[in-house]
């Protein structure tokens, strides 16, 4: 098994785990965490695909993954704010 396949398999497992969490967990915070796991899976897929048999890793997917992480951070922040707001509205 190449290290690419191993990484990709782990990435897909993370992706599936996150997906299941998004669908099955009721609490908004858990859904948000599940989404983060899922997005880690997708980004790790990029990292895995950077692997080249007899050359240094392809830098392009790495750049994409870093950009993706920034996007995920922004989305998570917005999610947290919204969760807090929904809670505040409910408690009022």
């Amino acid at each position: 098994m190449t290290s690419e396949a191993l990484y990709a398999a782990v990435a897909l497992a993370l992706f599936g785990l996150g997906w299941a969490g998004l669908l099955l967990k009721a609490a908004p915070l858990r859904k948000l965490i599940a989404l983060n796991v899922m997005s880690l899976g997708a980004l790790m897929l990029l990292v895995a695909f950077a692997w080249r048999p007899d050359a240094p890793p392809d830098p392009v997917p790495h750049a994409l993954a870093i950009t993706g992480i920034v996007v995920a951070v922004a989305a998570t922040a917005l999610g947290l704010v919204l969760i807090r707001r929904v809670r505040a509205d409910r408690d009022r």
């Binding site: 992706f15 996150g18 997906w19 998004l22 908004p28 859904k31 948000l32 989404l35 899922m38 997005s39 899976g41 997708a42 980004l43 897929l45 990029l46 695909f49 392809d58 392009v60 997917p61 750049a63 994409l64 950009t67 993706g68 996007v71 922004a74 989305a75 917005l78 999610g79 919204l82 969760i83 707001r85 929904v86 509205d89």
Partner: protein, 466 residues
């Protein structure tokens, strides 16, 4: 003469600068948003002459550079966004929304994201712009008031989930082709699992983000809970952004054989959306819920048309006409519905009353908007229906003609629930309701799209050129 580089870059530099300025100067933010929205509309109008331009931003070529492309498919979507943002910002509903803290910056960020999305030529930039659009749209939705928090959160979850599926698909595309540019991916001529995996992942993600049935459950609550001007943008153009990427992928990145094979899936999805949306609209009790469910139904025309687009530019043209006509008409109706709600003091469908003759433009907007949504001639919707029916019949699917006409009837019957309020006595006091000129302008544009047939054909031909 402005260079294409500067003009294309201005599409997102202008609104982004505006957003920063709005953030820095909250007092001038609303006026700034209105001004930039109109400037953007003018810019897009001027770009019509540059259709066919393709640039690498700052001279950095793909894959790490940012390549932009303005073709015949992109321009109608840019124009739709330009018109909607300009008129929605000037409407009373738009000014009310923009007066809220932070709204103007979000408004302009959304515009920048959409513009960038429509001219992006590579799959990863499309991911980034899809995310910018989604986050700004979710935040705008949340500004709709206390009731909007939960729908906005659900919208965020679905939209993020969709983006991640899309990103995973892009990763597989890169693995298979070493390219991110949509055209290069298409040129690689993928087949087998290397094509199936990324195509399925991206398609699923985009359908989720577009609210296409059966993934529509988040859409009506979000579009109904948002502020009226935000609803006009969400239904009018934001859902179209995901559909636009879907069209791009299936017409430019996937081989025609794949689209041909997947056509039955898309047809089923389209028909399901038409049915589910109509059913929801029949059962809605609130004005905005009715309009939002109508969006669910009308989105169905996109997969339906895609189901006939294999090797048929005519069906793609119909799809673009559908999107443009629906976007303008739906924007008009959301804005007009706000006037109706203000005049009545509530928005319970069964007891809405005629707002009187001062709201003539509002009533006209609803009337013309319904004409365009039903696809009666000479509206843009009719152009779309006729073109799609012709494309489908030419492929042997003559049942599409009565089906499309039947869908128009269905639309007419549920929209009658709204229209009947306008002929129902007694008239209510119209209070301080806006007269609705912006809504009327959008509705007139939706009907006048019926005159755009030759222009659309010309744009589609421009796209076909290399």
């Amino acid at each position: 003469m402005v260079s294409p580089d500067a003009a294309l870059a201005a599409l997102f530099v202008l609104p982004l600068t505006g957003a920063l300025a709005a953030f820095a100067a909250p007092r001038a933010a609303a006026a700034l948003a209105i001004g930039v929205s109109w400037a953007n509309a003018a810019l897009v109008g001027g770009l019509y002459g540059m259709v066919g331009a393709r640039i690498a931003l700052g001279g950095h070529a793909a894959p790490l550079g940012v390549a932009l492309r303005l073709d015949g498919l992109a321009w109608p979507f840019l124009a739709l966004a330009g018109a909607l943002f300009a008129f929605a910002a000037s409407a009373t509903a738009g000014r009310a929304l923009l007066a809220k803290p932070g709204a103007a910056a979000l408004w302009l960020t959304l515009l920048a994201g959409l513009n960038a999305l429509f001219v992006s030529a590579d799959a990863f930039n499309l991911y980034i712009t899809l995310e910018v659009v989604s986050l700004a749209a979710v935040a705008l939705t949340a500004l709709g008031g206390p009731a909007a928090g939960a729908p906005a959160l659900r919208y965020l979850f679905v939209s993020l989930g969709g983006s991640i599926f899309y990103l995973a698909g892009v990763a597989f595309f890169y693995r298979a082709t070493g390219a991110l540019d949509i055209g290069l991916i298409g040129a690689a001529g993928l087949s087998g699992p290397a094509l199936a995996a990324p195509l399925a992942l991206t398609t699923l993600g985009l359908l989720l983000k577009a609210g296409a049935a059966p993934f529509h459950f988040w859409l009506p609550p979000a579009h109904a809970a948002a502020a009226p001007a935000a609803s006009a943008l969400l239904s009018g153009v934001v859902v179209k952004a995901a559909l636009y990427v879907l069209i791009r992928l299936w017409t430019d990145a996937a081989p025609p054989e794949a689209l041909d094979a997947a056509a039955p899936v898309f047809r089923v999805l389209g028909l399901a959306a038409l049915g589910v949306g109509a059913l929801g609209a029949f059962r809605a009790t609130r004005l905005k819920a009715l309009i939002a469910f109508s969006t669910v139904a009308q989105i169905g025309y996109a997969p339906l048309a895609l189901g006939f687009a294999a090797g048929s530019p005519l069906a793609v043209q119909a799809l673009v006409a559908f999107m443009a006509a629906h976007g303008l008409a739906k924007g008009a109706i959301f804005l007009a519905a706000d006037g109706l709600r203000r005049a009545n003091g509530h928005d319970a469908l069964d007891s809405l009353a005629d707002p009187g003759s001062r709201l003539g433009p509002t009533k006209g907007a609803i009337g013309l908007g319904v004409v365009a949504l039903m696809g009666l001639p000479p509206s843009g919707g009719f152009l779309a229906k006729w073109t799609l029916a012709e494309a489908a019949t030419a492929q042997g699917h003559w049942w599409m003609a009565p089906l499309l006409a039947g869908a128009a009837v269905l639309t007419g019957v549920y929209m009658l629930r709204l229209v009947s309020a306008l002929v129902r006595a007694p008239a209510c006091a119209d209070g301080d309701a806006p007269r609705g000129w912006s809504a009327l302008a959008l509705a007139v544009a939706a009907v006048a799209l019926g005159f755009s047939g030759p222009m659309l054909s010309a744009l589609m031909l421009a796209e076909a050129a290399p």
